[in-house]
């Protein structure tokens, strides 16, 4: 054990490890893939270990997710700067879809939802994932993303509007379906 003393390790296991799923899920949606998410979530957890002495109580999930988010953005800047810098282009993202197994199991509805979510800009995707999948309050999202609460609320509102219109309008490109 290099970084954590025995006592800290027990605290880390008790406070932080219950949120490994949350850490992975956030990374998976920010990076749009399980393989990259596992690498980055692992890096974030090891960083959390290293910085754990600086955690003085409070919301351990928000603390961990903040580290995961920062690690994800650093990774994106290095490996896929286009995603962060350009205006969002569906073409880029439609190719990186869910895994074949997922598609086989889930069929159209699930596939469409995943694509629609992955097509949102990362800043919108993260607030939606934190709110709808992780059940975070506005305050927690503000803490995780270091955004003012007002910005959290407006991002969430726009994310929902975009996702809704993507889903309510299933044939995003090409044929128009009769209503």
């Amino acid at each position: 054990m290099t970084e954590l003393e025995l006592e800290d390790r027990a605290r880390f296991e008790q406070l932080v490890l219950p949120h490994v799923d949350a850490a992975f899920n956030l990374a998976r949606w920010l990076l749009r893939g399980r393989t990259d998410a596992e690498d980055v979530a692992q890096e974030a957890l090891l960083r959390a270990c290293r910085f754990f002495r600086g955690f003085h109580g409070g919301d351990a999930r928000a603390w961990l997710l903040q580290i995961v988010r920062n690690t994800c953005y650093t990774w994106l800047e290095k490996n896929r700067p286009v995603e962060l810098s350009t205006e969002f282009d569906e073409e880029i993202h439609l190719q990186a879809s869910a895994t074949p197994e997922n598609l086989a199991i889930a069929g159209d509805d699930r596939e469409r939802l995943i694509l629609a979510l992955e097509t949102l800009p990362p800043r919108f995707r993260e607030v939606l994932v934190l709110r709808e999948l992780e059940g975070c309050s506005y305050k927690e999202i503000a803490a995780i993303t270091s955004l003012p609460i007002g910005t959290v609320m407006s991002s969430l509102s726009r994310a929902r509007r975009q996702l809704h219109s993507a889903l309510a309008n299933p044939t995003q490109k090409g044929a128009v379906r009769e209503v």
């Binding site: 054990m1 954590l4 390790r9 880390f12 296991e13 490890l17 490994v20 799923d21 850490a23 992975f24 899920n25 998976r28 949606w29 399980r34 998410a37 596992e38 979530a41 692992q42 957890l45 090891l46 270990c49 003085h56 109580g57 409070g58 889930a106 509805d109 699930r110 939802l113 995943i114 979510l117 939606l128 709110r131 709808e132 999948l133 309050s137 506005y138 305050k139 503000a142 803490a143 003012p148 609460i149 609320m153 969430l156 509102s157 929902r160 996702l163 809704h164 889903l167």
Partner: protein, 251 residues
């Protein structure tokens, strides 16, 4: 037609982020606003799809294994160097004893946690009041009017002062709830920014001001003469400090 309530309240209502009072107000509005009713159904539909489709992705077992291996590396074991169980127990007991002593002897050491929790709650209350656009239940710049309103509702005597001449104009007050108890809130305005001053009685000794910031809001908290004060705002820290000085020297 777009409705004014839609932007400010609809989403907060849907996410359960409004105070009871604001939620009730929005529900009354909902009864006769088709726009908001439709939007609410859409929010619910979207949320339902996200939940029901089960797209939450739990961590793979390999990630957990890696972290566990990191936390519990297989150490080279040398029997001679293994401390005996009773040595561990003695060390643990000593640590516990020291922790207990520290906790007992210096309540100051505990105050950080207390401050952090308190600041959270107060910044929340401040934020709710901004979000709801509902800062004051009694709106007046007259010290006596505001004090009279509070005196009828509180069990403690609240000092109420207007500092308009120093640039901190009294706008009124309201009751709020912090840590489960009713507190008085005096609302001031400084350079167009609202400042909430939360006041409640305490049995603790006087303290010099503690300051901090959360989510872009500054707060300063102090106790004097069995009263605790916490001023919070997005104004500059120096402005809050000035208001603290004004209140502190007036009570």
């Amino acid at each position: 037609m777009k409705c004014d309530f839609a932007d400010s309240l609809l989403q907060g209502y849907f996410d359960g982020e409004l105070s009871d009072r604001r939620a009730a107000e929005f529900e009354r509005h909902l009864g006769h606003c088709d726009h908001c009713a439709t939007e609410l159904v859409e929010l619910d539909w979207l949320s339902g799809r996200l939940q029901l489709t089960q797209i939450y992705e739990p961590a793979p077992a390999s990630l957990r294994r890696t972290i566990n291996t990191h936390l519990h590396p297989v150490a080279p074991t040398r029997a001679a160097s293994q401390p005996l169980l009773w040595q561990w127990l003695a060390a643990a007991a000593a640590l516990l004893f020291i922790a207990f002593l520290l906790w007992r002897v210096s309540p100051e050491l505990r105050s950080d946690d207390y401050q952090a929790e308190l600041a959270d709650e107060i910044v929340d209350a401040h934020f709710r009041s901004l979000q709801a656009g509902h800062m004051t239940e009694i709106t007046s710049n007259d010290e006596r009017v505001v004090k009279g309103w509070f005196d009828a509702k509180l069990k403690f005597a609240l000092p109420v002062r207007d500092f308009a001449r120093a640039g901190f104009a009294l706008n009124g007050g309201r009751l709020d709830v912090v840590e489960g108890r009713t507190v008085a809130v005096l609302v001031y305005e400084h350079n167009g920014r609202p400042i909430n001053v939360f006041v409640w009685p305490t049995r603790e000794p006087d303290t010099s001001p503690h300051t901090g910031s959360r989510q872009g809001f500054q707060w300063v908290d102090w106790r004097k003469d069995k009263m605790e004060f916490c001023a919070v705002s997005d104004a500059a820290p120096a402005d809050l400090e000035q208001l603290h000085q004004l209140i502190h020297s007036s009570v």
